[in-house]
Structures are given as C-alpha cells and as structure tokens.
C-alpha cells in the first residue's frame, strides 16, 4: 500500500491523480499502523513550514514518520514535505524539522533578475554519476518555492542541485531509503511522472 501522509496540507488530489495515472492507488492517512505497514510513504507539500510541522506534531506523526523511515522502506518528501524531512527552516522564525535528512532550509536569495518565490521550470544537475541522474538529465522540472535545502556535507547522498541566485540548492536527494524532491514530480509533465514511477518501483533495502 502506498500511503500519502495526511497532515492537512498538500495538493493531495494532484498527487493522487499522478499516482493513479501510473497504475497505482494511494491512501491518504494519518493512522500509525497504516503508515508503518505501507510499502511506500509520500510526504506531500504545498504550505508553510511552521504550519506543516505544527500539524505533524498535533497529529502525533513525528515518531510514526521516523519509525517508518527506520524500517528502511522508501519514503519520498515533495516540496514542503521534503523540506520538513530536514533539520530545520528559517521560514516565519526558526522551526525544527523531522531530521531524517541533514539539510537546513534557507530563504532563496534572487540575483540577476530572478524573482521570489522561484516559480517555473528549471534543470536539476547531479553532483556525481547516478542512476537517478540519468532520468533527470536534460529535462526541466516544475518548482514553486521560496526556501531551498542546503547540505554542508553530501557524502552518502545521491544529490541533484539547481542554481538560484549565487547558490545551488539541493533539488533532488536520495539517502538510502529517503528521497526528497524540491520540485513537483506530479506536476512536471511526463518526465516528472517517470521519476515518480521510478520511486514507486523501489523496494525496501
């Protein structure tokens, strides 16, 4: 079973549509047992970090998400969902995240005519050779965000970055069973669907 975590935020219907079109079904749930028994979990995201963490805490999901991840089964965070999986964010004040990934969310700093929020299609470049890099190479994906994830150390991480301002933020991350995408694969046309499909095919390590 594929579980989409219900924490009151996210473009849920869009995500379900994409998953359904790939021939799978997903269940929107905040039930601990359902989540722990799922074969895949997705943490969706359209929203604000502080509100997102507050909802996750209020629904008692923090430990459940960490426990699921410890089982080694695949978990994917999309956009805000991906940001929440990291250590912290500066959005609306300092807020601690789930800590599944070692990144910090920082406000993007536009340069040279760039706008904020970052909205539109942009490439993702892998820092070293990767199977995931092959799927992503040469395509643009849809981003809509004002904060980006930065990693100090990217050892043991499959990492794809996107340039904004004078920095590169982490736009695709895979660390063991934990996946993060800053862009919306469910909204990036056929290339996004292919990426989502690849995640849905992953098995527990």
């Amino acid at each position: 079973m594929i579980a989409i975590i219900d924490y009151g935020l996210g473009n849920i219907q869009s995500l379900k549509n994409a998953i359904n079109s790939l021939g799978y079904n997903a269940v929107l749930t905040c039930d601990r047992n359902e989540i722990l028994n799922s074969s895949k979990v997705i943490l969706p995201g359209v929203g604000a970090f502080q509100e997102g963490m507050r909802n996750i805490r209020d629904k008692g999901l923090v430990q459940t998400i960490k426990d699921y991840s410890d089982l080694g089964k695949p978990i994917l965070g999309i956009c805000l969902g991906y940001q929440l999986m990291n250590l912290s964010s500066d959005e609306f004040g300092h807020e601690e995240g789930l800590g599944l990934l070692p990144g910090i969310c920082k406000k993007l700093e536009p340069a040279r005519g760039e706008r904020l929020p970052h909205i539109g299609w942009a490439p993702v470049e892998f820092v070293r050779k990767s199977d995931w890099g092959e799927l992503v190479s040469g395509h643009l994906f849809y981003f809509v965000h004002s904060y980006g994830v930065l990693f100090d150390d990217n050892e043991c991480i499959d990492l794809g970055v996107t340039k904004f301002g004078d920095r590169e933020f982490a736009s695709f991350v895979k660390k063991n069973n934990i996946y993060g995408m800053q862009f919306h694969p469910e909204k990036s046309g056929e290339v996004g669907l292919a990426l989502l499909d690849n995640f849905l095919k992953q098995e527990k390590k």
Binding site: L9, G10, N11, I12, Q13, S14, N17, A18, N20, S21, V46, G47, A48, Q50, E51, L80, F92, P110, G113, E114, R115, L116, P117, I119, G120, W121, A122, P123, H139, L140, Y142, V144, H145, S146, H184, E186, K187, S188, G189, E190, V191, G192, L193
Partner: protein, 247 residues
C-alpha cells in the same frame, strides 16, 4: 519532446461559464469556444506550462462553481493548475486544493479583504497564492484596479495595489490588461514595466496576444515571467509548441 523554457512560462487560460469555456473582448461579449476538460488536455499535450481556470461568473453568483470541472479535468493534467473566480475564504483554498488545483488566483476577494493574503500565505505558503489584477488604463502610466471580472471600478491605483499585495505576502501576480484583452493587438508592456518597479514576485502577463511577435516582445522587455494566452489558443491561431520554438 515537450520544450520547457527556464524563467518563462506559457500558460493556457480558460475562462468558464456554465461548464463551457468562453471568450470575450475586454472581458465581455462572451462566445462559447469549447469543453473545459477537452481543451485543457489539448493544451497540456501541446506543451502548456500551466493551466489557469477562471470562473467568469463567480462574483455574480457569490461563489466558485469550478470544483467539479477541476476534479474531472485535473485527472489527466500533470502540470500546475490554478483556479480563480469568486474565491473569498481560506476554506475556498482548501476546497480548491482538494479538487485538484495547485494554486489559487484571487482578485475581488483580496481587494475587499487584503488580510486574506496573509491568512492564505501563512497556512498554505505564498507560492500557492496568486493575486489576479484587472487593470484599465485611465491616464499615462496610470491604471485602475477593476474587480468582479472587469465589471466594477475600485478607484484604486494598480501600482499601489501591487506594492501592497506584495508586502502582504502574495506569491505571484497575474495582471490582465482590460484594454488589450481579447483584441489580439499585443500586450500592454508599459503596464508590466510600471508593475515591475513595485515588486519582485513573478508576474504573468494576460490579455492581448495575437501573434508570436507579441509574445516575443513582452518576453524581451524582461519584466514578466510568463504569459497567459486565451484567444490565440482558443481560436486556433497559434500552437504552444510553435510559440516555444521561437522563444
């Protein structure tokens, strides 16, 4: 292969009345042009970067009637979908997202209640929150804000409103020139130049595209981040794939 352009989006705009896509000139005199789901899918296949659904009569009836159309249409559209028309409350945003929208566009709702911008942005994020502005020229470099789908003047200056909305946390602006809308005579580039001086959020130009040169001109002006097209697409004057090939 679908072409995407970094930093510039080609958006297909569908104005809807009675479950039909309609098109007018200066936001009135409406003609039926097709079925929402069929047209949205056609433009998605034609490499549209986003789809924008506007409920053309929502303000008249006091609410947005697009949720059913959204649910049906969004099943096969894997690019961002924005919905607008008559959205007034945080619940409307929830309903929109639950129906398949990824962003909401609000005009009258924000003009009448500017604090709604902050309310939506703090819960759903500013990037979900598009401020739609209908601008009518009243003097040299001066435009007035209209609401209720171009029917009602507000006495407000567009540039002042842009500055205020930006400070309240809007994530994006879609600005329709009422004067150019439906005429196919080109965008009001002066309008977008003045607006760019007031804000650094993404701005989408809407209203006036008649040929590829119009789109090139507004892109080259460097002040907008995309265009919303209606007449040129609905009347089969241009295909998105051909437009992108020239940009």
């Amino acid at each position: 292969m679908v072409k995407r352009i970094k930093n510039f989006r080609v958006i297909s705009r569908l104005d809807i009345k009675n479950n039909t896509v309609i098109k007018g000139i200066h936001l009135e005199g409406l003609r039926k042009v097709g079925v929402p789901a069929a047209l949205a899918k056609k433009y998605y296949d034609d490499s549209a970067d986003e789809i924008l659904f506007m409920d053309a009569v929502a303000s008249l009836y006091g609410r947005n009637h697009l949720f059913d159309i959204l649910t049906e249409t969004s099943k096969n559209i894997f690019i961002p979908v924005t919905v607008g028309g008559g959205l007034k409350t945080i619940d409307d945003v929830r309903c929109s997202l639950d129906s398949g929208a990824d962003k909401v566009s609000v005009n009258t709702g924000f003009v009448k209640n500017p604090l709604l911008i902050n309310e939506i942005a703090s819960k759903y994020g500013s990037q979900c929150c598009v401020c739609s502005i209908e601008a009518k020229k009243i003097a040299n470099k001066k435009w007035e804000v209209y609401i209720d789908n171009g029917r009602e003047p507000t006495g407000m200056d567009v540039c002042e409103w842009v500055e205020k909305a930006s400070s309240l946390g809007i994530g994006e602006l879609i600005v329709t020139s009422i004067d150019q809308e439906g005429t196919k005579k080109g965008f009001d580039i002066y309008l977008y130049e003045e607006i760019r001086k007031q804000t650094n959020v993404p701005v989408i130009a809407s209203g006036g595209a008649g040929n590829i040169q119009h789109i090139k001109d507004v892109k080259n002006a460097g002040v907008v981040d995309g265009v919303a097209l209606a007449s040129v697409l609905h009347y089969n004057l241009l295909r998105i794939v051909d437009i992108k090939a020239e940009l």
